[in-house]
């Protein structure tokens, strides 16, 4: 198992390097000048100085190396410093945002909790809804419940979040006035009333995100249960005289959870990506909105860092899914 994990870890390194190179080159080779916004009255030699101050003077490979060092060496040091009060990173240059002239990572750290709250809750809610639906639809295959489940998940696949989000805003906050349409991140939860307000403003974004995840997960859970329900060991278990509950909820469920658990792990980074749109609809100021803002303001270091964070999430969760699969299903380990 350790061997397997180490092999996967080693494979992840070139993947990350390749992705960072793609992101870097994409931004590098693209036309567009960061000095385009500077007034024309600024003399060319001053512009050249400004360019150097932004770190644009050096050749491409050196800048790529510097960016890698900043991201993988200096930023973790900063993290350690802020956690333990040490001074490893003193005097080192960090990735600076062109919008705010402050370190990119500081802004990202401010934004991540909002995203995590909304996305995390949505994911948990979706899993809690999807798994029972999947189990029951598989157990009563082709029943009206199953047909309904198929239809609802088809709709969940097909209705994009920017429409379902707007639709729930129209219904629940414009027409009925139950929930606020804008997510207020300055709210401090310190009493029962503020908790209720927080709950109210979270319901709509969480439901919109959860609808999509539920649609995919419940279909997957159903397919996985169906694969297992016809296996010989199920017949054996029934023949032994085990109760139907034990057969389905213990024997079948445990085996069919193996692929589902890995799909859940694989889906987490995709949710962060998908949350970009939901954050935009409900005005949640998480990292998705930060990315959109940075793109519109042409803030390349911020865009680079955020895109790379998304890539790191994907690689890490792929790794986790692989290892989880290896732990849960011993057959996978010996390939």
């Amino acid at each position: 198992m350790l061997n397997f994990t180490i092999r996967r870890l080693i494979l992840a390194v070139p993947t990350l390097l390749f992705i960072s190179l793609v992101i870097f080159l994409l931004l590098e080779l693209a036309p567009g000048d960061p000095m385009a916004q500077v007034p024309l009255t600024v003399p060319p030699e001053v512009k050249e100085k400004m360019r150097e101050a932004l770190g644009l003077g050096q050749p491409m490979h050196i800048r790529f190396w510097k960016w890698i060092v900043q991201f993988f060496w200096i930023e973790p040091q900063v993290l350690v410093d802020s956690m333990f009060g040490t001074t490893f990173s003193e005097g080192d240059l960090r990735v600076i945002s062109w919008q705010t002239r402050s370190p990119v990572m500081d802004i990202v750290v401010q934004r991540i909790p909002q995203t995590l709250w909304v996305v995390g809750t949505a994911y948990v809610v979706a899993i809690l809804i999807a798994i029972p639906i999947g189990i029951y639809s598989a157990y009563r295959q082709y029943s009206w419940f199953d047909q309904m489940g198929t239809f609802v998940s088809m709709v969940g696949f097909s209705v994009p979040p920017f429409f379902s989000g707007v639709l729930v805003i129209v219904i629940f906050s414009v027409q009925l006035g139950w929930f606020p349409s804008i997510y207020d991140t300055t709210l401090v939860v310190n009493s029962w009333d503020s908790f209720v307000v927080q709950l109210k403003q979270m319901i709509m974004p969480v439901m919109v995100l959860a609808l999509q995840i539920t649609a995919q997960l419940s279909r997957f859970m159903r397919a996985s249960m169906l694969d297992n329900l016809n296996q010989d060991y199920v017949r054996t278990a029934r023949a032994k005289g085990l109760s139907e509950y034990t057969v389905v909820m213990v024997h079948v469920l445990r085996n069919s959870m193996i692929p589902v658990v890995t799909v859940i792990a694989l889906g987490i980074p995709a949710i962060f990506g998908g949350a970009i749109i939901t954050e935009q609809v409900f005005k949640v100021n998480g990292i998705g909105q930060l990315l959109i803002g940075a793109i519109q303001a042409n803030d390349l270091p911020m865009v680079q860092t955020l895109t790379f964070i998304f890539a790191v999430l994907i690689v890490v969760f792929n790794l986790i899914a692989d290892v989880l699969y290896g732990i849960l299903d011993p057959r996978i380990r010996y390939d």
Partner: protein
């Protein structure tokens, strides 16, 4: 299937079999009289039994026809500004109402649908071409398998939506300068979606090619000296057509959603050039007064994607010989 039956019944005529089977029985004769059924006929018969898929196909064809032929019947120019009749509700002159500049929303929906559907189909074709190309090469030539599949894995690990947004940001100006505003952005969006969505097709096609490559008919073709390119085009490609068709339908759905998402985030087509995503985005500003402006484009996107998804579902069942005839 029919060919095999025929040879079985023809054998007795050569006089080698016992006399009792020399005369074909009545139902064999009947079967001989009916022309052999082609594979596509069987597929169609199976497809017809899937109600959702039929409904999806009809709906999709209806949407495509309405969007492309509709402007010939409904001749109001979608960009014509009539400020005096702005913000109208649905009426006989404007069945979907007018927007804040008095432009007819029904005409704009048709124009937007043309863009959305053609972006969807073109991007799907590009992704399909790339995916099948990579998949066939990786499956057929063992030496290319490793590198190409590693490349596919690397592409799968890219954060797609952020990268698409970055591509929109960076290449919008030069491409619209080179090809004109609308065509430049069309090319950009189609290429961006195509380049970022070929990986699932490549994986499926590779898996099928790996299995088909080992079959006897490929060996037979090789033994009579057929070149690799001929084997691929005549023997491999027709056999991997069904997974390619299924991923084509799903590809249209994802491409339409991606294009609308980009337009919704304000990074798609320019404001005066309607697409469904753009209309939805513009409608959000008037959400409180005129919620129907958000509703129509959103419904159009959702219905198109839903119909295409059902179509793909039915197609997958119909093309799978294990399910067919059950």
């Amino acid at each position: 299937m029919t060919n095999k039956d025929r040879t079985d019944t023809l054998v007795p005529d050569e006089g080698l079999a016992p006399a009792s089977t020399a005369l074909p029985t009545a139902d064999v004769l009947e079967e001989l009289a009916t022309p052999p059924r082609s594979q596509w006929r069987d597929v169609w018969d199976q497809f017809k039994t899937h109600k959702g898929a039929m409904l999806g196909a009809v709906l999709f064809i209806f949407i495509v026809v309405a969007v492309y032929l509709g402007p010939y019947l409904w001749t109001i120019d979608p960009t014509q500004i009539d400020i005096r009749s702005r913000n109208q509700g649905p009426n006989w002159g404007h069945p979907f109402g007018t927007d804040q500049l008095g432009r007819d929303i029904m005409a704009r929906m048709m124009a937007g649908g043309q863009t959305s559907v053609s972006v969807g189909i073109t991007a799907m074709l590009l992704a399909l071409f790339l995916g099948s190309f990579v998949g066939v090469l990786a499956g057929f030539f063992r030496r290319l398998d490793g590198p190409l599949m590693r490349l596919t894995d690397l592409f799968l690990a890219l954060p797609l939506l952020p990268l698409l947004l970055v591509m929109m940001l960076l290449f919008r100006e030069p491409l619209s300068a080179a090809f004109g505003l609308e065509r430049g952005i069309f090319i950009l969006i189609v290429c961006a979606i195509g380049i970022t969505s070929w990986m699932p097709t490549a994986r499926i096609v590779r898996g099928d090619v790996l299995a088909i490559k080992e079959r006897e008919f490929v060996l037979a073709a090789r033994s009579i000296g057929t070149s690799n390119s001929k084997i691929i085009t005549r023997h491999i490609l027709p056999n991997v057509l069904s997974p390619i068709m299924v991923s084509a339908t799903l590809g249209i759905a994802t491409a339409i959603i991606t294009e609308s998402a980009l337009s919704f985030l304000g990074l798609g087509f320019p404001p005066d050039f309607p697409t469904w995503g753009r209309l939805l985005f513009d409608g959000v500003d008037y959400l409180q007064q005129y919620p129907e402006r958000v509703f129509w484009p959103g419904l159009a996107i959702s219905l198109t994607v839903l119909s295409v998804n059902y179509l793909g579902d039915g197609l997958r069942d119909a093309l799978d010989p294990r399910i067919r005839g059950r």
